[in-house]
Symmetry: C2
DNA sequence: CTCCATTCGGCAAACGTTTGCAACAGATTA
DNA sequence: TAATCTGTTGCAAACGTTTGCCGAATGGAG
């Protein structure tokens, strides 16, 4: 039914091994023969069967990409960049969604293990132990998680969180809320730690609300709790929650940033579209996707197991403004900065 | 290195064919033997090699999912639903992104063809001829495109567009703009046709602006052109463009919906988050993803080649309001409807 | 006790490639 | 002229499964 290497061999009067070499080791075959084989292959519409090739070479030329939630706008740019980058290197990508469930995640990794040359684990929710265990079954690169000895690319979200908190403190806020993300998220712990340390160092207060599922609804649902704390500024685990909160606050007649300032994290496409436009920490997700693919594909060559940290940047927009203790001078400076964008 | 069927056979003292049957035809093996084999398999950490299985059965248990742009928020919910649904049926999903390029799309289909049991082509940009050609290489289900004889699931966007135009006409608008989508999009042609017919039937005017890439930037860039037409209402190819336009109009001091009404299509997650909240046509993308997977997997059994049409609904929010010819009565009714949400 | 039916498990071929080895021709070297 | 080398091709085994076929064992019927 499908045209195989054998059909091409017969049609061009050579042995199948010559046809094989024409594709996988062209320099070993006479240019004349090669072009003849290529011509008949083209004419017959031959395409190598990757499964058969994988069986004998042990390399599938496929990679797995596992994310917590495809519909979370944080991931699509990463998936897109990774897929495009992988394809350029002649790899195809299995994409799978764990729905934020560590058990599904584990199942998925094991199911995919035999079928791919490696797996990109993005924002995994599994425990370190589980990850350590599966890395013995399949080459792994994790994104947004730091595990010693495991190749990883992380966005330096701690730095972003510190910048965000400093920005808020500089605006004269003295009581902040951290609207936490999901349990099991390394990013969540990093943000929490960075925000806590920075607030404490300045003698200000930080209230942590959570853990929460990282979706808009929980952000909206948290509005009441946020207001009860009496805080005047909120740092959210991600933009989705920040936007939910923003909207919910406005529905309650709370002025943002007049009464409460809100900062998100990720800089998803929509954070610039809501009103007020969201102040947020930009994550280089596309670069992370490409880097992770590169690391995964190089992993075969040497055993190099680097950990790449990508820079994050605070983007100041209109959802943050002066707090109750705003010093006149700083206030002007910050307002100027805010107005600019 | 990896544990194979042979290792399991040796360890449990049976022939490899028995091990094979234990997994692929359990009823043919003695329950006692079966449980013994399963136990040692479990203990050894055996997992069937899908490539080898595919080689002999001809079924890979993989499907391909090709979309125009992963980062376009229209697609992630579809991808997510399709992937989850496929996995439940023990299929893995290759996801690939064509960047709206028909040539890349064709390459992709052919590259994936040998590696999957079928391909889901979402909003393809290829010509009908090209699609006809590749469908001979691999089972296909198309989403959002109607080609006779080819299994398809389409969202009845024509219906949605008619509803949207009627809504605008009812509000007293007499000159509309259709902000068109990309060339090669079936959806685009459907909307254009439906909008044209409905406007014409009412004796109103429709100006078509386009074709355009279906992204926010082109929506924003079109603001000037929209204003020049003198139209008071705009239907956009998708929410992304509608949102871009919305924002650009506001930046120019144009009140929406006071001076210009804007309607989008898709109801992506963010259309409810921008201000004013976007009136739009909701597409059941998740259902489309699931249905498409079902159709693809059933295709093997019989040759059934249905075409499923999914309903779309107009969601009236705040980006549409009375036009210059608003009849007092209709105006009140519509305003009431608008305020409700 | 014999015969037949049924159940179970082994044997071996096959799927479409890759690849080490050997064969051969022609060219180069001593 | 013989020996060696180089470039090109063929041969056959191997990768990890599935599956049609056959034989052995078991048990029930007569």
């Amino acid at each position: 039914m499908a045209v195989t290497i054998r059909d091409v061999a017969r049609a061009s009067g050579v042995h199948i091994s010559t046809v094989s070499r024409t594709f996988s080791a062209p320099h070993l075959v006479n240019p004349e023969t090669r072009s003849r084989v290529l011509a008949t292959a083209e004419q017959l519409g031959y395409r190598p069967n990757r499964a058969a090739r994988a069986l004998i070479t042990g390399r599938t030329h496929n990679i797995g990409l596992i994310v917590a939630d495809i519909a979370n706008p944080f991931f699509p740019p990463l998936i897109k960049a990774a897929e495009t980058h992988a394809r350029r290197r002649d790899y195809h990508v299995f994409v799978a969604d764990t729905d934020e469930d560590p058990i599904v995640e584990l199942d998925l990794v094991q199911a995919l293990a035999k079928q791919v040359d490696g797996i990109l684990l993005c924002s995994p929710r599994m425990s370190d132990d589980q990850i350590e265990q599966v890395r013995r079954e399949v080459p792994l690169v994790v994104v947004n998680r730091m595990i010693t000895g495991l190749p990883a690319v992380v966005m330096d979200v701690g730095h972003g969180a510190r910048e965000a908190v400093r920005h808020l403190l500089g605006l004269g806020h003295r009581h902040l809320v951290y609207l936490a993300g999901p349990r099991g998220s390394w990013t969540n712990r990093e943000i929490r730690r960075a925000a806590g340390a920075t607030t404490r160092a300045a003698g200000a207060d930080l209230t942590v609300l959570g853990p929460n599922q990282p979706v808009e609804e929980t952000g909206a649902a948290a509005a009441e709790a946020v207001l009860r704390t009496g805080a005047t500024a909120v740092l959210a685990y991600n933009d989705l929650m920040a936007i939910g909160l923003l909207q919910s606050l406005q529905d309650r007649g709370v002025d943002v940033p007049g009464q409460v300032s809100v900062v998100g994290i990720d800089d998803i496409a929509y954070s610039g579209l809501v009103r007020p436009r969201l102040t947020t920490v930009a994550n280089p997700t596309a670069a992370a996707g490409r880097t992770a693919v590169d690391m995964l594909l190089q992993q075969g060559d040497d055993g190099a197991t680097g950990q790449v940290t990508l820079r994050t940047d605070l983007i100041i927009r209109n959802s943050t403004g002066p707090g109750p203790y705003a010093p006149a001078v700083a206030l002007n400076a910050e307002v100027a900065a805010t107005v600019k964008e």
